[in-house]
Symmetry: C3
Subunit: 352 residues, 3 copies
Amino acid sequence: MVWNTNLRWRLPVTCLLLQVALVVLFGVFVRYDMDADPHWIDKKEAENSTSDMENEFYYRYPSFQDVHVMIFVGFGFLMTFLQRYGYSSVGFNFLLAAFGIQWALLLQGWFHSYYRGYIRVGVENLINADFCVGSVCVAFGAVLGKVSPVQLLIMTLFQVTLFSVNEFILLNLLEVKDAGGSMTIHTFGAYFGLTVTWILYRPGLHQSKERQSSVYHSDLFAMIGTLFLWMYWPSFNSAVSNHGDAQHRAAINTYCSLAACVLTSVALSSALHKKGKLDMVHIQNATLAGGVAVGTAAEMMLMPYGSLIVGFICGIVSTLGFVYLTVRGPGQGLRAGESGGLYVPDRRWGAP
Amino acid sequence: MVWNTNLRWRLPVTCLLLQVALVVLFGVFVRYDMDADPHWIDKKEAENSTSDMENEFYYRYPSFQDVHVMIFVGFGFLMTFLQRYGYSSVGFNFLLAAFGIQWALLLQGWFHSYYRGYIRVGVENLINADFCVGSVCVAFGAVLGKVSPVQLLIMTLFQVTLFSVNEFILLNLLEVKDAGGSMTIHTFGAYFGLTVTWILYRPGLHQSKERQSSVYHSDLFAMIGTLFLWMYWPSFNSAVSNHGDAQHRAAINTYCSLAACVLTSVALSSALHKKGKLDMVHIQNATLAGGVAVGTAAEMMLMPYGSLIVGFICGIVSTLGFVYLTVRGPGQGLRAGESGGLYVPDRRWGAP
Amino acid sequence: MVWNTNLRWRLPVTCLLLQVALVVLFGVFVRYDMDADPHWIDKKEAENSTSDMENEFYYRYPSFQDVHVMIFVGFGFLMTFLQRYGYSSVGFNFLLAAFGIQWALLLQGWFHSYYRGYIRVGVENLINADFCVGSVCVAFGAVLGKVSPVQLLIMTLFQVTLFSVNEFILLNLLEVKDAGGSMTIHTFGAYFGLTVTWILYRPGLHQSKERQSSVYHSDLFAMIGTLFLWMYWPSFNSAVSNHGDAQHRAAINTYCSLAACVLTSVALSSALHKKGKLDMVHIQNATLAGGVAVGTAAEMMLMPYGSLIVGFICGIVSTLGFVYLTVRGPGQGLRAGESGGLYVPDRRWGAP
């Protein structure tokens, strides 16, 4: 009874405490970036007589909104294909991302945007916070169905912290180039998720039959997530590139890689099925691999054919990996949610 | 029989008459804005030697498209969670919004963009028309299931008119600042909807059992609406702000408020449920409150922590309000659609 | 057995061969456009001292992403209303579009962007490739349910080729103006699709009962496609217009035409139903007609009332056409998918 009562209050108390802490930390540390602050911007414009159009906002905001859609709709709906997990997939993704972006603004700010005693927040910081949360969403895919919302919030707290430290080491100390965040975001997210899954793994749990029931509409919902991720990936890889030709090139390269990846993953999905059928889950996973793979090099002079080759190989490797590797990859973690779940599907969601 | 025949022709005749009237009024009154008219713009460019990039189109169009998605997909799908009301929710929202934006272009034009005998229409007018219709969509939430499409069109006709007068009084006569339209759009919309509901209210109607049937996928559709509203709210609050730092700041403030609001409404939703469960409807309503609340002050120097505090309080107040207030708020109006409906669900939709 | 084995490998082999061919052709022919290439852009900036903001990327990229959403989510989900065809609709649309954009980049490049031995690819080429694939998606609507994925890929191969030749003849040789591609994209796509349907037509196939089963959620999915097409059509018609006022005007004209079209198609849908009910399929088809019809003239000085008249007439004509014409229009081709299908619904999709 006591334990039950504790459990019942655990989520509200955690959420409120985290949010109060964030308010206090924002109050102490966070101010507007130069381009969002009238005192600074007026001075800058008077000096250089630049146009309002040169405000960072107009270079970055459309890309920011695309990335925002990828995080909340893309990753949220990507995992709705698990029957009876739709609420948790969309809802918990929403919760962890809303917490994660605030925490990431602080941590990334301390490392990268700290100036004269304050973190200066502008549209580029919002994009980077979304990127960081993207890494948590990848890890979420591996643990969906195994963790409670409180555990997810704690996982987000740690992962965002580690992400920022890792990013600082890679980008600032080792001076690695990683435009699309293949290393810092996706690889880090996948391994973090796998580690958490491994810690939580309990053998011998019964095999759920949930998946066998009609998942027809669930897979269509998942396609909403997949398509928004696929379509907006050029924005993801180009969102924080240098102005002008670099941003332009990053978008073209990602576009090419993604297109090539679709064809080879359809080919492999059909070839690996004993009757030549296609599997929606391969399409969902493998097609995105093309965006991840080209990420690091997206703004380099890859040439369009170079990007096609990256996408070509990626579609093959990721579909092969999905089918043959028995270790729990991020994709398989999703399915593992059925067989090793500690939580019954969507039981957290009720009506008042 | 005669009455039935009349009823059958009421919708087509209303739609056609309204559209014919709009065509005539547009013919008499509406012309292109300076930035969309080659005669004016060539002269302007010759005088100031400005770049095409200084065209208002490039400052506003990406925000306009985000707001457009909020009105048609956001509000349209927000209310699909009512089982067997999906068509009406999406379809009638589509109808009233398509009528409303045309009527709003005229009315707002007479008040704000009338110059040398004509209303001058540019991308900012399109955004303001969408804002005005947003107010009708809020009211629509309170009357869904109680009104016929013809009644909705008439409601839109009156509400857009009153909205424009109210907006003119607040913004031009009283010189109130209301960047995100919290007062003019959301408060006005909610009270207008409540008034219409109160007029239409009939006690003693039987309690429908519709809601009890599986609403699983319906709630996922509703989350599509919720998320597009949530994600694009920074565009909503910054769409017509001043160029440069004001627009930048409005987006940052809204982003912060929305993020904080998610955590506190999850906390309250769980705390107020006797078993600590979450209610999707709280998440849907309360999370959006953060965007509304910060609207008026969005472009002011609120500071990021100020926005977090606004969102924090909003998530708590709106979830408390939703659970404890027995008056029909916009959110509860949605649910009231089940119990006091004069119309059977989606009966308006057939196949040929 | 041998035949079966061949059939089983046909899709993977076709996909891989096409993609290998594309990689080789891209390697030989495709390079970056001036605005995406640091060697060229640095020189240009040094000469004219222009800002990064003048890069074509910032003029076009937001429109490109909107068009991209129309092709993959818009057309993909538009056809999910066919019960049990959702996977094929979304999945095959994804496959053919991913192939089509690559092939279109090459063909349109040879005709329009060939410079000093190479095709120069920039964001405008990406938009044009999406346009070309839009035409294939229209034709796909007429053959859905009648063709295998391999046949779709071959259809795409031929249609993109013919499209590019037709476009070259119309735009370059006859010097026709067709801003929104009404002729080159939509009319061409519809007739191509009808021709393919006519070739594939087999009389006497049994009438499927699929459609009679509950299509409730399927139609809501289809509305996602419809709405994204409707909302982003102003971007479609203005995406490759001249900078400044022309692009601004094309967006305003399309917006007006689309809004008027909704009211008249609702009117006609209700008037033509014997009990005055509305048909979701009319709304889906007719509302889009407004965007197509205004396409050619979108950037001209149509005036807002001129656009309303175009939309007005269009909503009437297209709904009448849908109801009374017995030839298989693109819309009716969709329904014909049920009655004359050579393939059982979604049988191509399995789990591993």
